[in-house]
Every structure is written in C-alpha cells, then in structure tokens.
Symmetry: C2
C-alpha cells in the first residue's frame, strides 16, 4: 500500500540542496494572459479529415476561416511585499522565450526569482511567434522561413565557447572561454530552451509589446539582445509609460530620429566580457553607444556598465545565466534604486 | 518628476477586483526546466547570412550541424505549506500548452492556483513541439505538416458553441450552448492560447513525459483531452511512479493489452455536458469506459463523474476554463483526499 510517510521523505529529498534553502516567495497574485494580435481570414483550401489521437475519432478540419495570429503571452508574479513600486517587464532575446529569466541552465534561481525576492512585480513575456505566444502559417502570414539554430551556433556567437570550432557534442570536449562565467554543465539545457524564430516579424512583436506597455505600465523595461531594439522603440513610442530602460547587451538601438523621446527615461546598458575579441560585438556596442549619445545630446542620460572594466570578468552574452548572474542582477538593482525606483 | 505615490496608487488600482483579494500564495520554490529530447544531425545544406536585427550586423548561419529536438518544458511551483504530499503534474490538451491551467480566459485564477492554494506542488508542462518546448523542422524531423485551428474549430468541437455555424467573428453574434459554462467574453482570449501542433509526434511526447515522471514522481497525473492517452500510457509504463490518474475528458485511452498495469492506480474520469448531442464525444467516452472496465477486470478501480448526472450542468470540453472551474476542481480535490493522497 502506498505510504504517505515515504512520499513526504521523498519530497524533502527532492528539494534538498535546491533554492528552497532560501526564504519563501510570497505572492499577492500570479497568472498569465495573452495580449494583442489580429484576425486573418484564409479561404480556398480543401477540407481535411484529421485523427488527432491515434485510434481516436476522426474530425473534419476546415482550414478556411478566421485565425488568431500575432498575439503575445505574458506571465506575471506580484509579490505580497511590493518594494519595487512599478512592474518590471523582462523581454528575452532572439530564438528564445521568457524561460530565459526563470532558472539558470545549471538549476540556480533566475532573474525572475531575484527581482521577485527584491519585491518587484515581474511580467515575463514570450515575443510574438515564440514559445507560448504560438506562431502562424508561413508564407501565408509570416513572409519568410523560420530560423533554427544548431547547438554550435549560440555556443560561438554568444561568447560562451572559445571561438570557431570550440563546440563539441561531447561536453567534455567543448572548449569554453578561458575564465568564462557561463556554466558549462548547463549548455545542453540552454539549447533546449531555444525556439524557432522569424526575422520578418519585428513589426508584429513591437505592436504586441506596445499593447503590453499600454496595459500594465508605468513600468521598468529590462531587455536582452534582440529585444534591445524592441524596448527602445517601444519606449520611444510610449515615453510617458516607460520609467527606466535596462539594456542587457542590446543587439540593436532605437530610432535615431526619435532619440529625444528617451530624454526623460534613465537608461542603463550592461555589457559582458570578450567583446573586443568578437567579430560582431564591437560594432553592435558602438552602434548602441552612438545612439545613447544622441539621446544624451537631446537632454537624456544613460549609464554604461562594461562589466570587465569594473572587475566583473568572464560574462558571456547570456549574462542572466552566467555563474555570477546574481551579482550582475545586484548591479542592476542598485542602479534602479539610485533612480529612486525602489523603496529602500 | 516621477511620483512614487501616484505609482503605488496605480498599482493598487490595477489589482483591485482581481484574484489579489484572496490570501497570498507562499512558495518554497519556483522555477522551470527542460527535459528529454535528442540530438539530430543535419548536413548538406548551404550556409546563409542572416541579419537577426534590422540595421544589425549580419551573422553567418550554417544550418548544418547538431540540433536539439523534442525536449519538453516544465514549470514548477512548490508551496511552503505542502499538504498534497505528492507533486501534481498537469498535462494539457492538443493545440494548447500549459497555459491551459494558469488563468481562465475571463481572468479568474486557473487550476494551477487552485491546487497550489490547497498545498499541492504543481508541475505544468508544454508537450513536445508546443509552446516553450519549441519545435523542429519538418519534414526533416517531424514527418507531417503542422495543424492550425481556425477560431471556429474549437468553438464547435469543444462543445462551447451551439453546434455547426454557431461561431461568429462578432462576439455578440456567437451562439453559445444554452446554459453553457464557458465564459463567452473569454473566447477570443482562449483562441490566443492556441499553438500549432503535429499529429505525428506522440512517441516523442510520450518519451518526454516518461522522463518527467522518472524525474519528479511518485506523483498524481492530471490530464486533459489529447494528454488522456499520454497519461494512461505513461502510467502503464511507470505503474510504481503514478499514484493516481485524473482524466479530464480524455480524448483517448491507454493500451488495452497493458490494462492490468493500472490495477494499483486509482483513476478518476470527469466528463462535462452536451456529450450525447455531440457527433464524436459519445464514442470517445465509450472507448475510455470500455478501457477502464478492462482495468477493473484486472483488479483495478476507477470512478467516473459525469458532471450533469450529479447536477453540475453546462460544462464544455474546457472544464478548467468554465465559469464553475473551481467547483469541478473541488470535486477532483475531494476525490484525491478520498484516495488518501492529501493531508487533511
């Protein structure tokens, strides 16, 4: 017979050594919603018969009709003891989803938990066509093919591995950046977080993020990589709603013509290590810094943290997954507090 | 200047009338992980140059190499005051993701919150190729085309609308089931939760669920619709790990040849309303009940709740989203307590 006691013992063992050693997280509310999107109509296609479950009862599926497309998934956690007075929106990078912030790939707590524990209401979204936002037919709706990444691609492109040829299927043979902070044992887990993406959906993504800002802000927006562009462009469109921008290795800047729109929004840009030796990142960072100078010339202000310059070495592009992720989150937290966006 | 006080007032207004009126949810731990999957190798394709961000720096993308495919996303919430001694795994239906259980489409708390508040550790997953599990190339990896559903399809097939032709783009003109419990105002939100799916990935899904059971069980498994088959087949493969099965309108049964494997697992099947008038559901339910009789003949036991027969009327196929979702969750909770799977 099934024993309640043995099960309780098991449960305790499962949690031993995990994040459960920390204080509990007390939430006033948690839930999710989808926002935005539009309806499209497809016509002229033949009706199909689909057996959804093997051995099940076939159902007629008429592909003609109205489809919901380009909506965006958002999950939120509101702490009971709210010390960040504004919602903190975290937007992920390309080929990924909101999972980026949930847990590190070596099983530590992610930035979601870090900022929740600090008392920030956190909203994590999956960009349009990624993860739980769902995706639509191509070429009917999206005008290009999706992009899939090999396991070696981010290893080299995200400054985790020691340059071209450093990836190996055998984890023991992968060549990490010397002194790098990315947890080698978590690399396979990280690649499991990858989702296909399109390169022609930026407008739909920006529309959905703008609707999100209209719904839940004023707020702080924290972006990473691909969403660097989205965060800055949406803040330019809603300068009264976005009260601070945290750019974690943004892959693209805002619209130069609208630089002045950001003049009342404090901006922090954070960069990891190994940028100088990378074929692309010196240019990407220089483009962003040029844009931020335009914002400053229009009366704005920004801070840049180049982590190695303040003695924090070894960070990859996936800073929120690196072994020192909490340390860097702490730097962001301190900066937000200095902007008077936190109740001490 | 930005006012802390006005922001706090705003935050309070945002939450007014929401689930926040309830007691807080206190968590010992929360996080996510991906499980399972396999590596495949693609070769012989041309290298592409991809500009991931408009105005960004082009990157070479070599589509040849090793890909991670068929992994599964799992998010978990462990309550501080654990009264369900076993993890409760909730598996969603076809064309959907774990979002099914997070919030009802009219904004009430979902079954995730219901069972968390009762003290159950809850694990919510997105089946392989759905949501945050990501998906792989077809026909290279998946051997068929994905299925996309129109907005009218689930409206009629899930016993929400009053039969063929009942859907209308104009919510005011949608014809709901008379007396139906599905929240009409949430139907558009529900369709936003839809994700594409394949009909040829069952083996990969079952592999991933089996790995999940191996990792986090002994446990209770609650399934809905398409995952009815998955839950029963995985329990047949791991009869020592699954301590109870809750089948919410399962679309398919277990393997008849292995019916005896379920003889030590208490099983509850729950069905909503309008089944007799549906073209498919009388057969689907009869198939399941025939299978459960085989389990019983082999020494097992099961209970069936046909909700209208106990006076709970109007439930659609999406019982966890219906207006009386908490009432039905309470019936499930009571049944679990009767199986001695809950600390009173």
């Amino acid at each position: 017979m099934y024993s309640l006691k043995s099960v309780i013992t098991f449960g305790a063992a499962l949690l031993a050594g995990s994040a459960s050693a920390q204080a509990p997280i007390t939430l006033k509310a948690m839930g999710s919603f989808h926002i935005g999107g539009r309806e499209i109509t497809i016509s002229g296609k033949p009706v199909k018969e689909v057996t959804f479950t093997p051995g099940g009862v076939p159902a007629k599926v008429d592909p003609n009709g109205v489809y919901q497309v380009e909506q965006m998934y958002v999950q939120y956690f509101i702490p009971q003891d709210q010390r960040g007075p504004l919602p903190l929106l975290m937007w992920h990078g390309g080929g990924l989803s909101g999972v980026t912030y949930e847990t590190t790939p070596d099983g530590r707590e992610g930035w979601l938990n870090f900022f929740l524990r600090k008392g920030w209401p956190v909203y994590i979204s999956d960009a349009v066509e990624r993860g739980r936002s769902g995706w639509a037919m191509f070429p009917d709706v999206f005008k290009s093919e999706p992009v899939f990444l090999t396991k070696e691609n981010p290893f080299e492109r995200f400054r985790i591995g020691a340059g071209p040829g450093s990836y190996n299927k055998d984890p023991a043979k992968m060549k990490m950046k010397p002194g790098g902070q990315f947890p080698a044992e978590g690399y396979d887990n990280f690649t499991k977080q990858g989702v296909p993406r399109w390169t022609t959906t930026d407008d739909a993504i920006i529309r959905a993020y703008t609707e999100l800002v209209d719904k839940v802000c004023p707020c702080v927006v924290l972006v990473h990589s691909q969403s660097g562009t989205f965060g800055q462009v949406v803040a330019q469109a809603r300068p009264d709603k976005v009260k601070a921008l945290v750019l974690v290795e943004p892959a693209g800047a805002g619209d130069s013509k609208l630089a002045a729109n950001l003049r009342n929004i404090p901006i922090l840009a954070v960069y990891g290590d190994y940028i100088e030796e990378d074929p692309r990142w010196p240019t990407i960072r220089a483009n962003e810094l040029r844009f931020l100078e335009q914002v400053k010339a229009a009366g704005g202000r920004y801070d840049v943290i180049n982590l190695p310059q303040i003695g924090v070495k070894g960070n990859s592009h996936m800073i929120m997954m690196d072994k020192n992720s909490d340390q860097v989150a702490g730097l962001i937290q301190n900066w937000l507090a200095k902007q008077e966006l936190y109740r001490p």
